[in-house]
């Protein structure tokens, strides 16, 4: 390295600048080296053996530890993305209740934002320092289960006399099965419904949206509700991957065929759907463009009374409750059929845990106990996926919105995310094509054709 940088100067009179230049260049190279280094910091800890998931022999006799409360409490670690920043106190309350019921177990937790959570989790799992229990959304659950990072809960479930799987919503619980083995317990779910500003509808003298509405009804109402001078837009749905995979189902389209071997994203229905999503902005001007939104979120605009109808998640209930107008929710209008998002979070146990039974107890408590469910419902921290109706009464009684039952009605037409192994890459690739279509750089047809080619490149 030295010879390169000193090349051609060796017989020249050296001055201060010349001498400082060499180390600085060296530092420059070092910076790069460190960057390269960062990417492989954990390379030394290559995973040597992939132990098969523990079988019955390693997880029997769970009851034995139950009664011995005199010894040191077992510490269980939990990692979550859904608690911070709004529900830390609720999580603390759940832990307090759990520790009261299980004095021999102590729960500590770490929280990360959703954006950083999975990077962190991947690293701790790789370095074998994963917490005993951690939260996984459905999309990532598939990835982790397929990579054998999770503990097979089947034996724990069987050994636990108090456990009854029928208290869970079975669709939601089965989502956390992989290879027909239970690798996670469903913790909560949320979905997306159709929010509307009643005051704006009243002012325009329009009927409120109802469950029979289609895209056409939505457009007709939106055109009447839009008031360009006042900066009010009739309707809004973002143009991005998640919105797209749901909206195409409202028109009978799909991204993959049923066994996910073939990409059908460029179908006629899907081109039509994407065109409709874009037309709301570009042709009918009933939805704001990105520039018109200029960095404000759709939720902010709805709350400010600038969007009359909005497709967004039920997690916004809390934030909208102090809006200075009345609002309600309805089922989303579809074109040829109804379709609604369904997002589920689950709790999994790490394959490397040393305290599987304690971890199981915590996972069970967090997902299905009455106490935890009550705290969750009372604080609108998503919804427990339990069948016990009485748990949900307090949820249904709360207003706004008045039509809370819509949240459950939407489950009849739920669409699960089209998960594949390279999930993050799929969302990026399709997202980029959708962006280009939105910005008018490509026609919807071209964008979806290119998306198809790109997805075919990452299907395994």
């Amino acid at each position: 390295m030295k010879s390169i940088f000193m090349n051609g100067q060796s017989n020249k009179k050296s001055d201060v600048k010349q001498r400082t230049r060499y180390p600085k260049l060296f530092i420059g190279i070092l910076i790069l080296a460190m960057l390269l280094g960062m990417l492989s910091g954990c390379a030394q800890k290559a995973v040597e053996t992939n132990e098969p998931t523990p079988d019955a022999s390693s997880s029997t006799a769970p009851e034995a530890t139950d009664t011995t409360t005199t010894k040191e409490p077992v510490e269980i670690k939990y990692m979550t993305f859904s608690a911070a920043p709004d529900h830390l106190e609720d999580l603390d309350a759940m832990i307090a209740e759990f520790e009261k019921q299980n004095p021999d177990i102590k729960v500590t937790y770490e929280t990360y934002s959703f954006a950083d959570y999975f990077t962190k989790l991947q690293t701790v799992v790789a370095s074998k320092t994963a917490p005993d229990t951690f939260e996984l959304n459905y999309e990532n659950f598939v990835t982790y289960a397929s990579k054998k990072a999770l503990y097979n809960m089947d034996d724990l479930m069987k050994a636990d006399a108090d456990f009854d799987s029928s208290i869970f919503n079975s669709t939601a619980l089965n989502a956390f099965k992989y290879d027909s083995k239970q690798y996670g317990l469903v913790e909560s779910f949320s979905n997306v419904v159709f929010f509307y500003n009643k005051d704006l509808f009243d002012k325009a003298n329009l009927d409120y949206p109802n469950d029979s509405w289609t895209w056409k009804d939505e457009l007709a109402a939106a055109q009447k509700l839009t008031d360009a001078d006042a900066g009010i837009f009739g309707t809004y749905a973002p143009i991005q991957f998640w919105e797209f995979y749901k909206t195409i189902e409202q028109n009978g389209g799909k991204i993959f065929n049923d066994d996910k071997t073939e990409v059908v994203i460029d179908s006629k229905e899907n081109i039509e759907t994407l065109q409709w999503m874009i037309d709301k902005i570009e042709k009918y001007h009933v939805s704001p463009s990105d520039a018109q939104m200029s960095g404000q979120s759709d939720g902010d605009l709805f709350k400010a009374g600038k969007i009359a109808m909005l497709r967004t998640g039920i997690w916004m209930f809390d934030s909208f409750k102090d809006a200075d107008f009345t609002w309600d929710i309805a089922l989303e209008p579809g074109n040829t059929q109804k379709a609604h998002h369904f997002f589920a979070n689950g709790v999994a146990i790490s394959k490397d845990t040393k305290n599987a039974e304690a971890a199981w107890k915590w996972a069970k408590f967090l997902t299905s106990s009455k106490e935890a469910a009550k705290i969750r419902v009372d604080s609108s921290w998503e919804l427990p996926a339990l069948t016990d109706e009485s748990l949900l009464t307090s949820y249904l009684e709360k207003t706004p919105p008045e039509s809370r039952a819509v949240v459950f009605k939407a489950l009849d037409t739920l669409v699960v995310p089209p998960v594949i192994g390279n999930w993050n890459e799929l969302t990026d690739l399709v997202g980029k094509e959708l962006d280009q279509a939105k910005l008018g750089q490509k026609t919807p047809e071209q964008a979806l054709k290119d998306a198809k080619t790109a997805i075919e490149g990452i299907l395994e």
Binding site: K17, R21, A43, A149, D428, K432, D435, Q436
Partner: protein, 294 residues
């Protein structure tokens, strides 16, 4: 640095350097080797390592996304480098005046350098907001309808370049200032006696005598701008529609979003080779224009 006084001296030095050498070994050298080894593998951190030979490298050169990112990196350099150099040099010339309170101004221009990239990027994101941002407001005062900046694929890179220039001019200015202050006054005095005008003074005295500084600054800035990442990641995350996707952003995405450690390592090494080549070429050509004689 060391001289030729025997191996014992080397050992003594090595002993005193041990604390930092160990750190460097663990955090730099070993990871460099590991990333090189990994670049021939397929590994997602959790599962087993699969050896795939040169296929990662072959993929780097055939990946349209990487090609786009490479193009955008070059666009960034082409926009950033000339501007940051000329503005910094101009500022340094102004700041080199012996005026009262000039030190305060020098310090002011240096503040962005010590600010964190995250804070700077967040502030510029706001400044560049098409509706409420200060920049479009200022443009509107002179009757220009500002672009959508970070939301407009044609302007997003310009926004990133502006931010980077604003952050880096202070650093380069200080280096230029040091270079300027090394130029002996008697050259200028002699030139004045000969009736040389200001422009000629700059062109025939300042610029050639600054050439070692310019060379250093270009080399450092070029290395840094090949690795542009922080501001891109925070301001646009490579968007809109991939318009600001750059090489290191792709490395990060592949490693920590797609968990393709092998592929990300391969891109890193290609980037390293690229920077290394450019730097070597620069060193070869410096003879033609860098003047070390005083």
């Amino acid at each position: 640095m060391v001289g030729n006084k025997g191996i014992k001296k080397y050992l003594t030095i090595a002993f005193f350097l041990l604390p930092s050498l160990v750190g460097m070994l663990i955090f730099v050298i070993i990871p460099i080797i590991a990333s090189f080894v990994l670049s021939f593998s397929k590994w997602d951190l959790i599962g087993d390592i699969k050896w795939v030979g040169f296929s990662n490298y072959i993929k780097v050169f055939n990946d349209p996304t990487i090609r786009e990112a490479f193009k955008h990196t070059l666009v960034f350099i082409a926009g950033y480098l000339p501007l940051v150099l000329s503005i910094s040099l101009g500022l340094a010339l102004v700041m080199n005046k012996k005026l009262k309170g000039i030190v305060v101004f020098r310090a002011l221009y240096f503040i962005p350098v010590i600010s964190s990239w995250v804070a700077v990027s967040m502030i510029w994101k706001w400044l560049l907001n098409p509706e409420y941002g200060l920049i479009n407001y200022l443009l509107s005062l002179i009757g220009i309808l500002g672009p959508g900046w970070l939301q407009d694929p044609k302007w997003a890179m310009a926004g990133v370049i502006m931010t980077s220039i604003w952050k880096d001019i202070g650093f380069i200015m200080v280096i230029y200032l040091a270079g300027l202050q090394e130029i002996p006054d008697h050259y200028y005095e002699a030139a004045s006696i000969d009736g040389v005008n200001r422009w000629q003074k700059f062109w025939y005295i300042t610029w050639p005598l600054l050439s070692p500084t310019t060379f250093f600054v270009i080399t450092i800035s070029l290395i840094n701008s090949f690795q542009v990442f922080d501001q891109v990641w925070i301001m646009t995350a490579g968007g809109p529609a991939g318009a600001t996707s750059v090489l290191v952003e792709q490395i990060y995405r592949n490693a920590f979003s797609y968990y393709k450690m092998g592929y990300a390592s391969a891109i890193s090494w290609v980037l390293f080779a690229l920077i290394f080549t450019v730097t070597v070429i620069q060193n070869k050509f410096q003879k033609k224009w860098v003047n070390y004689d005083e």
